[in-house]
Symmetry: C2
Subunit: 375 residues, 2 copies
């Protein structure tokens, strides 16, 4: 009996030491990666991703964009990869392709209810539910990327955005940014305002409302149907994205006239939308990590979208696409129509009005700097 | 004996379990903060900073800018704060004010030798050692912030930057960005090119070489002496920074004519400069954390610098400062003089030539997009 007690004591002491110093570090090995790799000087290559981590945060993220889509899809994948690395494997935000978890149009409700944890999308996609969100994604004739960042992060935009999301059971972190879109593809050139009358065009959201003021008949085809409609001549024009993305999708095979600038989207924010309870349950460290990785994703999105367009434009030119700038008369008419649309939306909806007033007031001040600071 | 063996086995098993699950987690408590805060729903506020962390990385960072200086100083402090939070207290990069660790002009050598671990500064400060570094900070008539980001991160700029630093025993991570500077303060208005002849101006680096081509006598006063010289009339003009910073420093009390745009600095990068051996010794997780926090600092720097200028400009106007744009004749002469300076620098130094060629070639391509994409 005495032998057994002594044995238990010896075993306990040795076991605790082994457990704390040998077993536990192996269980938590990803965390070990957080500090200095190895004192010997780092010659043995560390694996890029900790292999056996057991994440504390394990979220499913519905992406509104397929992984293969330049920028939009790759920014969502970049978020998944970077948050894993920065957290040493403690935070997993797993990318799921569109439709894999829920139908894409149900993403907003699915995150709000907690059925899925998070989504990578753009606030503008939820205009059917909350019209004001469009102003956080891309406002027609609105700010370019740098001005948009100034308003969102330091001009009051983010606070309004978070307030609107919070009312809907959500928290949003701006998590990507794209520079200006193109103005769209047309089967025939647009010379005068009259050419818009009766034109059938695929264009969404606030841009569509502006076009309708000028006599365009708009529709909101999804990607697949859109190509068929444009190729067959069932529609006359389509607005989709930036040159690099339009190139990958092959719009130049279906129409020959490409217009600039993309007045309807001078810059576009993307966000990580998170169920509010799940956000609130995070530690401050986990929140900091998501905010830093998303902030870096905004930086990367702007840099990449600015860098990726000229190659596509060269290709279009080589393929004989006619690249046009909108005639001044048309830009003025579009701008005027947008002011009407904005006034109508603001009159119809309190949140839209508050966000529009904030953005407009910021831009009036910013104009003082923009006029002087630019080249 | 049999009892003792059984006892040791039982003790070992229990001990390993206790060691791995009870003792070890307490040893690593700061890391626990990385995941979910508390399962109860997060009502008890977590401390903003883990209080008792023992950092694995504990660096001293010499800042080239005082903490109180808007943007330049606050970006360095932001880096210190954010890297601590994102790492859950595992990485400490401690801010030291200018001159606190080493004289500011010795920062480059002190980091290269390992005498200090890191520094927050701008590559342009080391032009005396490596002229090419000026092109990574701010090139006269160079790219604005978004184009600069496109070149640095996706156009080959970063790779050249890292190569040049590496040859000097350093690793650099771009860690802040500022929008355009102002063109400078003048005691008398500048109407024609002739007004530059014999003018005494405080201006540094490549901008100074451009001004000298046009007959300006330049000098490189430090901040304190500069104010005395400008107030007393010992110099006629001075270029320092952006409106928000120039306002805080009180330039409007010493001269009344403020010129735009700041052709000499259309955007400025800042960086975290790290001793190369210390960077190489970091784990991949620690590297990811520094890169994400610095990337987010670039985003923040651009947003904040774009948002902070108009308030200062309003104040200047209220105080009767005359705000001018450079006459077209002068802008053309400055641009021409810069081309001469750039050609001379490229002829004199191989690294400058390589970086200049990379930047110039990128900008030729980017111009295709810039012309179309902008409003």
């Amino acid at each position: 009996m005495r032998g057994a007690v002594i044995g238990i004591v010896i075993g306990l002491v040795v076991g605790v030491v082994i457990g704390a110093t040998v077993i536990a570090p192996r269980l938590t090995s990803p965390r070990q990666q957080a500090g200095l790799g190895n004192a010997g000087g780092g010659n043995s290559p560390a694996p890029l991703l900790p292999a056996k981590a057991k994440p504390s945060v394990h979220w499913k993220m519905a992406s509104a964009y397929p992984a293969s889509l330049p920028l939009l899809g790759t920014l969502a994948k970049r978020l998944e990869r970077k948050i894993w690395r920065v957290s040493g494997g403690e935070i997993e935000i797993k990318f799921f392709a569109p439709e894999a978890l829920v139908p894409s149009r149900e993403i907003f409700d699915a995150v709000a209810s907690g059925a899925i944890d998070a989504a990578f999308s753009s606030p503008g996609l939820w205009s059917g539910k909350i019209p004001a969100l469009q102003l956080f994604a891309a406002a027609p004739f609105g700010p370019g990327p740098a001005e948009n960042m100034a308003w969102v992060y330091l001009g009051g935009g983010r606070e309004l955005f978070e307030e609107i999301y919070r009312k809907n059971g959500l928290h949003g972190v701006f998590c990507g940014l794209a520079t200006a879109e193109a103005g769209g593809w047309f089967r025939k050139p647009i010379h005068v305002l009259e050419d818009f009358k009766g034109l059938n065009m695929r264009i969404l959201g606030l841009g569509a409302k502006v076009m309708e003021k000028l006599g365009v008949v708009t529709s909101g085809f999804s990607e697949g149907d859109l190509f068929m409609a444009l190729e067959s001549g069932a529609i006359d024009a389509a607005e989709f994205s930036m040159p690099a993305i339009d190139f990958q999708l092959g719009f130049h095979e279906m129409s020959k006239h490409y217009y600039f600038p993309g007045w309807q989207q001078p810059s576009t924010f993307f966000d990580l939308m998170i169920n509010l309870d799940k956000w609130n349950a995070l530690s401050s460290t986990a929140k900091s990590r998501i905010e830093a990785v998303c902030g870096d994703n905004v930086r990367h999105g702007l840099a990449e979208s600015e860098a990726m367009q000229f190659t596509a434009l060269k290709e279009f030119t080589a393929k004989g696409i006619a690249i046009h700038r909108w005639p001044a008369e048309i830009m003025e008419a579009l701008d005027g129509a947008w002011r009407e649309v904005a006034a109508e939306e603001a009159a119809a909806d309190g949140d839209f009005r508050r966000v529009w007033n904030s953005l407009t007031s910021f831009r009036e001040d910013y104009a003082i700097w923009k006029e002087l600071g630019g080249p």
